[in-house]
Symmetry: C2
C-alpha cells in the first residue's frame, strides 16, 4: 500500500476501512465509539479492533481513551472523508456512466475506493459535473472534504399524517435498493405516511399518487427528512 496521508505515513486499506467505520459510527451515535461496536461492524474480534485502534492512535488518526472509546482526530476525519468521497463518486460514476446495476455499485466501489488516485478522482468528479449526492441520496464530500450532514429520521419513526422527503437508504442494503428502484421510489421523492401498523408492522406510504406498503425492516433503513 503505497498510499500516504498528509503526514507521510502509509495508509493501508485496512486503516481506511477503520477510519470509515469510526466515522460512520461516530456520526450515527454522536459520541465516542466503543471497541465492540467497531469490531462488530468490521467483522473482527474486539481484540483485533483494539490493536488496530492503538495503531491508529499512534498514527495520529484517532484519539483513544482506553476503556472510554475512540474518536477521529481532524487527520483521521480527513482520511475517512477522502475514502467516503471516493466511494460515493465511484458509485455515482459506475451507475451513471458505466451502467452498472444499482445493487452492484456498492461492492465495486468498496474495492476501488482504496486505489483511486487523486487525479482520477478529479477527472470523475468533473465528468459528473461535481455531484453533491450519490445515487442512494448520500451526500458526497467536496474536494476540500466538507460534507453536508443534515439530520434525518428513520421512516419508521413517522406517524400517520406526517410528510417528508425520502432522502436516502444505506448503500449496503442491495436487496432493498433494488426493491425500491423497481417500484420507482427514489431518493428525493416526497412522501406521506398514510397508515402504520403497530409492532414493527408495515407502513402505508404515499409517493406521488401511489401508495406503497413498506415492511418494518425496510422502513427502518429508509432515511427521511421530515417536512418543515
Amino acid at each position: 500500500m503505497p498510499v500516504k496521508d498528509a503526514t507521510g505515513h502509509d495508509v493501508t486499506s485496512a486503516i481506511e476501512d477503520y477510519a470509515k467505520a469510526i466515522y460512520a459510527l461516530e456520526s450515527r451515535e454522536g459520541e465516542a465509539v466503543s471497541t465492540n461496536a467497531l469490531a462488530e461492524r468490521l467483522g473482527v474480534t474486539a481484540a483485533s479492533a483494539s490493536g488496530m485502534v492503538k495503531r491508529l492512535d499512534e498514527l495520529g488518526l484517532v484519539l483513544h481513551e482506553p476503556y472510554r472509546g475512540v474518536a477521529l482526530t481532524p487527520a483521521g476525519k480527513r482520511v475517512a472523508l477522502e475514502v467516503l468521497r471516493h466511494h460515493r463518486l465511484l458509485e455515482t460514476y459506475l451507475a451513471e456512466s458505466l451502467g452498472v446495476p444499482w445493487d452492484r455499485v456498492h461492492e465495486e466501489a468498496e474495492v476501488l475506493e482504496h486505489v483511486l488516485s487523486e487525479d482520477l478522482e478529479a477527472a470523475i468528479a468533473a465528468k459528473l459535473g461535481n455531484p453533491t449526492h450519490d445515487p442512494h441520496g448520500d451526500p458526497i464530500p467536496t474536494a476540500d472534504l466538507r460534507i453536508e450532514e443534515r439530520p434525518t429520521r428513520s421512516l419508521q419513526t413517522l406517524e400517520p399524517g406526517e410528510r417528508g422527503v425520502f432522502v436516502r437508504v444505506s448503500d449496503s442494503q442491495s436487496e432493498m435498493l433494488r426493491y425500491l428502484s423497481e417500484r420507482g421510489v427514489r431518493p428525493g421523492d416526497a412522501l406521506e405516511v398514510v397508515d402504520k401498523q403497530p409492532f414493527g408492522g408495515p407502513l402505508f406510504v404515499r409517493f406521488g399518487d401511489e401508495v406503497h406498503v413498506l415492511g418494518g425492516q425496510l422502513a427502518l433503513v429508509m432515511r427521511v427528512e421530515a417536512a418543515t
Copy 2:
C-alpha cells in the same frame, strides 16, 4: 488479494506482474526467459525472481527448467493475458472516456489492472465498443483471451526508401508518447523513411506530408509493420 485463478489459487498482484513480465519477455525473445532478465525487468534481485518463479511453478503457471529458463503454461498465459486485457482496456477507457492525458494512463492502469472485476471489465469493453487496440496501438486480448500478435520491426531497422505503418510504441515511455502525440504522430499512420544517419543517429521519416526527425532512442521503441 482475494482474486482467484481458474484453479482456485490466489493470484496476487505480484504474481500477475511476474506473469505479465514473463509474457512480454517471451514474446519479445521467442524463447525461455532467463531469471536475470526477469529480475531486471521487475526491479528485484535475481534471487527474489528465482524464488518467485519457483512459486509460480508450484502454482502451475509456469514451467521452470532450473538453469534453463522459464516459460508460461497455458494457465499462466491466461493470467498474463487477463491482466493485459485489463491494462489495455483501462488505458483506452481512461484516455477516451475520462480525458486522462496520454502519458498518465499507463501508471493509472498499472494499479487498476489488478483490481478490475470481470463485470467492470465487461462494462468498460461494451462502453468502448469492444476495441481491438489501445491508444498506443497495442492489441487488446479478446474476452476469451485471444490476442493478435503481428510481428513488428523497430523503426530503427528500416532503411531509407522503406515504407510501413507505425503500429505502436511501448506504453511505459511516457515522454516519448507525449512527444509524438504533440507532433500529431499516432499509431496507424503510414510512414516512409526518407533518410537515416548512421551510428544510431536520427531518422528522417515522412508521415503524410510532413517529414519528422526522430532520434535514435525514439526510433528504437517505435514499432513498425513493414509495407507488404
